[in-house]
């Protein structure tokens, strides 16, 4: 039942022993041995995150630092997001695009006092670093913060919990960050996440990671949550997973991420693949990422063909599974633009049988971000 070839060559995060002590099931993910679930199980971890607070080790993700006065401008030449316009300590979700407008990775950029802090996907970080080394202007410094850990605290109780350890953090709005001393360690606290819930990501030096993890997991509202529930939470929240919902073959416009492209960038361009992306913004893309809600109880997994009423294939599921909060199967995928209409009935070819479903609005579970 296990498809994990072996764990000998996998890297470990500074929290590896904590996961073991908490009864985690560890699997290989993006070259790291990571907890897929703890003793409670994916369903309980998912619902606990939506009800109280879940603690995630996401130290496998890449943390990078761009330094120098030209850092924001230099990054803008590689992404369609508005980075130069970010106020200090404001954050932006954006994508590294290739010259054809495909997505090389998606990332979060935070404007800091020294430049820009980036968080990129674990599976892409080596390519991202190579890409940045090749394409960044000479005057911009790039540091790989491999000696920092990253944990996420997510859920409606996250703010109350973190306030006990990082007083003042509750004043952060969604997609802003600040530096705090937590247990004597210097922490970059960002109000963001990957669950659709209010919450934080906390970057600390690796030697402070265990102390941070222990003080948070000891809080009565907090339970540890593995990658399994991280995936079901982000799917219900309608958030893309790189390598599944977005990749080099999808553009930000097809992926429904045009909201992340600022007005100045839309007109001004100046990022890889701008010609295609601007054309798609003006004329509409050929296909679109949509929410897909199966009628019955059978989940439709990644790769499931999407058919129209005549049985013609119009698209493919890119993420699909069971949504514990939605209380049933949920999916997202790409369909031809003319079929990407909320409410349109489609069918999903699961194990050779067409099963009824409908195109629906994302997310499946409303976001509860802190926007004062």
């Amino acid at each position: 039942m296990s498809d994990d070839a072996g764990t000998d060559t996998l890297a470990r995060t500074p929290l590896h022993d904590e996961h073991r002590a908490l009864g985690a099931t560890l699997v290989g993910f993006a070259g790291y041995e990571m907890p897929v679930r703890y003793a409670a199980g994916i369903m309980a971890e998912h619902t606990h995150t939506r009800a109280a607070a879940g603690l995630f080790d996401v130290s496998h993700m890449g943390q990078l630092r761009l330094t120098g006065s030209g850092a924001a401008d230099a990054l803008e030449r590689l992404v369609p997001g508005d980075i130069a316009g970010l106020a200090p300590w404001a954050m932006r979700y954006t994508q590294f695009t290739d010259d054809e407008g495909g997505i090389l990775d998606d990332l979060i950029a935070t404007r800091t006092d020294y430049g820009v802090h980036l968080v990129v996907n674990a599976s892409c970080k080596e390519q991202d670093i190579a890409h940045l080394e090749r394409r960044l202007d000479a005057g911009v410094g790039l540091s790989v913060l491999s000696e920092r850990a990253l944990v996420a605290l997510q859920g409606p109780r996250a703010a109350a919990v973190l306030e006990r350890h990082a007083p003042g953090c509750t004043r952060l709005a969604f997609m802003t960050a600040g530096t705090f001393a937590i247990g004597g360690a210097d922490a970059l606290v960002s109000r963001c996440g990957y669950t659709g819930e209010d919450g934080f990501e906390i970057s600390v030096p690796e030697d402070a990671a265990v102390a941070l993890w222990r003080c948070l997991v000891a809080e009565p509202e907090v339970e540890p949550v593995g990658l399994g529930a991280r995936d079901s939470l982000r799917l219900e929240a309608g958030l893309c997973l790189y390598g599944h919902d977005i990749d080099e073959t999808t553009s930000p416009v097809e992926a429904g991420l045009a909201w992340s492209i600022g007005k100045r960038r839309r007109t001004g361009g100046g990022f890889p693949g701008a010609a295609r992306i601007q054309q798609e913004l003006a004329e509409g893309p050929k296909r679109r990422r949509v929410g897909i809600l199966p009628d019955g109880k059978a989940p439709a997994r990644e790769g499931t063909p999407v058919l129209d009423a005549d049985g013609e294939e119009i698209g493919t599921v890119t993420s699909g599974g069971f949504g514990p909060t939605a209380g049933g199967p949920v999916a997202m995928g790409y369909v031809a633009a003319e079929a990407a209409e909320i409410g349109r009935p489609v069918s999903l070819l699961v194990r050779g049988k067409p099963r009824p479903a409908a195109i629906v609005k994302l997310p499946f579970v409303p976001h509860t971000y802190h926007r004062p």
């Binding site: 897929v36 309980a44 995936d231 059978a298 989940p299 599974g321 069971f322 199967p329």
Partner: protein
């Protein structure tokens, strides 16, 4: 509970007369985690040993359930439709999948008894 015979794919079968009740082992349900959906075959279908007889889905993934013995499906566990978590709660009891009328009872000799299966699982070295 005694009298169960296990396959290497973690299915069990319990024989009463010429009918075998089939399910997945407690180890298998633990590995899968929360079961959210079970797809069962049609009554009357004939399945060969090691052929896919059902599908069990957890939050994360879908897995095949293979027939540990050959036979004709004479009954399926309708209760799993409304309550797939029965597989987690009582894998070798209420969480059964199908009943098969055995067509080759000799196949049972190739399956593991409870003790042999326990050794087999322990040897997988997967906690």
């Amino acid at each position: 509970m005694s009298g169960l015979k296990y396959s290497k794919d973690h299915e069990w079968v319990r024989i009463e007369g010429d009918v075998g009740t089939v399910g997945i082992s407690d180890y298998a349900q633990e590995q899968l985690g929360d079961v959210v959906y079970v797809e069962l075959p049609e009554v009357g279908r004939t399945v060969a040993q090691n052929e896919e007889a059902a599908v069990v889905e957890s939050v994360k993934a879908a897995s095949e359930v293979y027939a540990p013995v050959s036979g004709e499906v004479v009954e399926v566990n309708q209760a799993l439709e409304d309550d797939p978590a029965l597989v987690n709660g009582d894998a070798t009891g209420e969480g059964w999948f199908v009943k098969l009328r055995l067509s080759a009872p000799g196949e049972l000799d190739g399956l593991m008894d409870e003790a042999a299966y326990a050794d087999y699982v322990a040897g997988l070295g997967d906690d």
